[in-house]
């Protein structure tokens, strides 16, 4: 039996999402004029309306994408390219060093091509971004600011409302990657005042392979994919009826129990963190103030533990958690986010979600408090202990 503590990577599908996926798997082409096509189109538009309601925006502002990465690329590239078409100079783009690669990589790629000039604002040690520093980076040529709602590794939550208000005064659009925030934080496009937003369905109980880009009406965006002109021409491609319907169903379910889930997870993650940080050499990272920390995340830094030993030990003990990303050959690579925050140690992210139970957390505590001390490689002492064990 696996104790699943990796909801931030993918959370299990909501029953309503499975049902929607199943009912629309055989949908006709939603652009077709026949009756079956019309029914499929209705399903897509109802999904769009449902997502808009959940996010506090208009259905016309919702674009279904292949996931969070496409939604982020669409905003970062599409908005800055559109700005470039309208102005003589090179647009300026502001983002942060803790963004997901889906934002940071296109931003750097645009800068390398000379399509934008780029400012990357560094984070604090807790992974949060100082709003004043972001505002100070804005110039007359700034065409877009992209700041994530909450960081995927540290669970650090940014003050988007204050940032959006400051940017609105300066007339600069704000894009936010809300992929990690959506499961436990209220995401309200209108209240935050953001102009673009990215979501990924499998982070809130939908299927992998579908996401949402919110693009405020009147905000010019150059499409990434040209073709049949679906979704106002911003995102061509046959409507993915079943995926869109499942995405909407999952979001409805997630929003409906989000406040309860947040309260429940705060208790569970605090208990988990308290027990695990009692182990020597285990530190909790990310913001200390729970109002600026995702209720789902416990991010730990381990001293003298090798990432592979950790991954292997967790698997063997039946705990699925994130001990870092793998490089081409499979070794763990260093996290640029933690480097940007000036944090050292082997990272271990424990993330809970809608299926998490108190019993699961108890089991995780038992496993981790037993495993983590054994993994420490203060090399001299390890050698002695083994010799003693063998004799």
């Amino acid at each position: 039996m696996t104790t699943y503590l990796d909801h931030a990577a993918t959370t299990p599908p909501r029953p309503a999402a499975r049902a929607a996926l199943d009912s629309w798997l055989a949908a006709a082409n939603a652009s077709a004029t026949h009756l079956a096509g019309q029914a499929a189109r209705v399903a897509v538009e109802e999904a769009r309306e449902s997502v808009a309601t959940a996010l506090g925006c208009s259905p016309h502002e919702v674009v279904f994408t292949s996931g969070g990465t496409e939604a982020d690329n669409l905003a970062v590239k599409g908005i800055t390219w559109a700005a470039r078409e309208r102005s003589r100079g090179v647009p300026h783009l502001v983002t942060t060093a803790v963004e997901h690669p889906a934002v940071l990589d296109p931003a750097r790629w645009l800068a390398e091509r000379g399509d934008v000039t780029l400012t990357v604002v560094p984070p604090g040690r807790d992974g949060r971004v100082d709003v004043e520093e972001v505002l100070a980076a804005v110039r007359p040529a700034t065409a877009l600011v992209s700041v994530m709602a909450a960081n995927n590794e540290l669970g650090a939550v940014n003050d988007l409302g204050v940032l959006a208000a400051g940017l609105a005064e300066r007339g600069v659009p704000l894009h936010t990657d809300a992929v990690q925030a959506i499961a436990t934080l209220e995401v309200d496009v209108a209240r935050w005042g953001v102009d673009a937003l990215a979501l990924s369905a499998h982070k809130f109980g939908g299927p992998q392979g579908v996401g949402v880009a919110v693009l405020r009406r009147g905000l010019p965006v150059v499409p990434l994919a040209h073709g049949g002109g679906q979704d106002r021409g911003v995102r061509s491609g046959t409507f993915a009826v079943a995926l869109d319907a499942a995405c909407a169903a999952a979001l409805r379910a997630a929003v409906a129990d989000r406040a309860d889930l947040r309260a429940r997870l705060l208790t569970l993650t605090d208990r988990l963190a308290a027990a695990v940080t009692a182990v020597e050499g285990v530190r909790r990272s990310g913001p200390t103030d729970p109002s600026w920390r995702l209720a789902s995340h416990v991010h730990l830094l381990l001293d003298d533990v090798e990432p592979t030993a950790l991954a292997l030990g967790l698997d063997a003990a039946g705990v699925a958690a994130s001990s870092g990303a793998a490089c081409g050959a499979g070794a763990t690579k260093a996290s640029p986010v933690l480097e940007a925050c000036g944090l050292q140690g082997t990272p271990l992210r424990l993330s809970l979600g809608w299926t998490s139970t108190a019993a699961e957390v108890d089991r995780a505590i038992d496993v981790l408090t037993d495993l983590l001390p054994r993994l420490r490689t203060s090399r001299g002492s390890a050698r002695r202990s083994v010799v003693a064990e063998v004799r």
């Binding site: 090798e306 030990g313 490089c327 050959a329 070794a331 090399r379 083994v386």
Partner: protein, 389 residues
């Protein structure tokens, strides 16, 4: 049944080792060690790490066998414990054996320790050597395990495993040592392992092109010195003693008709001495920090092997056993234990820094050994000795 961590290099031997362990009913986990940071040509563009092909070969084998598989990045340990000493040992005028150092400091010190800490019972590798307990082949970890030469004498690797202690052998499994190489390849083919026909690797793993001097030239400064003959007459010059190994014949750059060998290398005076083959004859060697696979130094007649694939010669540990360390020219580790090995027939081309490995008189069981820090050298030259990293 035991929980076994198997080191999978991406080659056929370790893949078959894993397959045999699975078939013996062990709970097997595969691990590929990322040891050397190889040049960019061997890497994934833009990722700056990992020898992709070997890691992928190992991963595919693990998938075929249905076992969990991980890549373990021990490149920092490997750099510090193997690659740096490799260069400094050459700079000190000696010739290291990096495979021995890797087994001692990485596979045993680092990997086995970690495996046991994670709750594994044993570490397995694809080395060609056999393990015996009371004369019976070992398939389960346990005490009183002996290290025996491989069934396939041409492939025997017991020499590079001599550093294993009894405690470590008790937690070691060597599943392919009982089999000839051809059988290993056919087992791989029968199990659908794509590495069945992968060529054997012979080079030092962190010098894939085999150009050791080129590798050292990037790490060590040029330090010119003389090449002299037995009478001290200067025959030429060289760019650094690390370019030479005792017993070496090629690449001396001397205009000479006679066959000349490097007979001694002295890093302190930067002198490389050459001479005829007779001057290479060596009847004794001093070993530093010896380890014994049975936990105690052997008494009585033994066989002594000074090269990974060389012939062994009869000999014995000098009476009196160990000598506490004293002053050592160019050396360190003054309190390390030393023993002296006396050889009944001479060996030729014994380079300092190499391992002298002792076997039972019937040449079957590997008893352990140590690194050569002093050896008989032709008269007229100070007895060079070093303490290789």
């Amino acid at each position: 049944m035991a929980r076994v961590l198997v080191a999978m290099s991406g080659g056929v031997d370790s893949a078959v080792a894993a397959a045999l362990l699975v078939e013996q009913g062990h709970e097997v986990t595969g691990v590929h060690l990322k040891l050397a940071d190889l040049p960019l040509d061997d890497q994934v563009p833009g990722h700056g790490c990992c020898t992709l092909d070997d890691a992928q070969d190992a991963r595919r084998a693990a998938q075929v066998l249905g076992i969990p598989y991980y890549v373990w990045d021990l490149s920092a340990v490997f750099e510090q414990e193997v690659q740096q000493p490799f260069a400094t040992t050459y700079a000190a005028g000696a010739t290291p054996n990096p495979c021995v150092t890797c087994n001692e400091r990485v596979k045993y010190a680092a990997l086995l320790e970690r495996a046991l800490a994670l709750g594994f019972d044993a570490l397995a590798t694809g080395h060609h050597a056999r393990l015996r307990r009371a004369g019976v082949p070992v398939t389960e970890p346990g005490p009183r395990t002996e290290l025996v030469r491989a069934a396939d004498a041409r492939k025997d690797q017991s020499y590079v495993l001599y550093v294993a202690t009894p405690q470590q052998l008790a937690h070691t499994l060597l599943p392919v040592g009982e089999l000839p190489k051809e059988r290993i390849r056919s087992i791989a083919a029968e199990r659908g392992l794509r590495v069945a026909n992968k060529p054997d690797s012979y080079d030092v793993c962190f010098i894939p092109d085999g150009d050791t001097v080129g590798y050292l030239a990037e790490r060590l400064p040029a330090e010119p010195g003389p090449i002299v003959d037995a009478d001290g007459e200067e025959l030429g010059t060289h760019d650094g003693v690390w370019r030479f190994t005792v017993g070496q014949r090629r690449g001396l750059g001397l205009d000479h008709h006679e066959r000349r060998f490097v007979t001694a290398v002295d890093a302190t005076s930067r002198t490389v001495r050459v001479g005829p083959r007779e001057e290479l004859a060596c009847h004794w060697a001093e070993l530093e920090g010896p380890t014994w696979t049975r936990g105690v130094a052997p008494t009585g007649p033994v066989r002594v092997q000074i090269r990974a694939h060389g012939r062994s010669v009869p000999g014995r540990l000098a009476p009196g056993g160990s000598t506490p360390g004293g002053s050592t020219p160019g050396g360190s580790a003054s309190d390390a234990e030393r023993v002296r090995v006396q050889l009944e027939e001479p060996v030729y081309g014994l380079a300092l820094g190499q391992a002298a490995v002792l076997y039972t008189a019937d040449d079957a069981v590997c008893l352990g050994g140590g690194r050569v820090t002093a050896a008989e050298r032709p008269a007229g030259l100070p007895l060079a000795s070093v303490s290789p990293g």
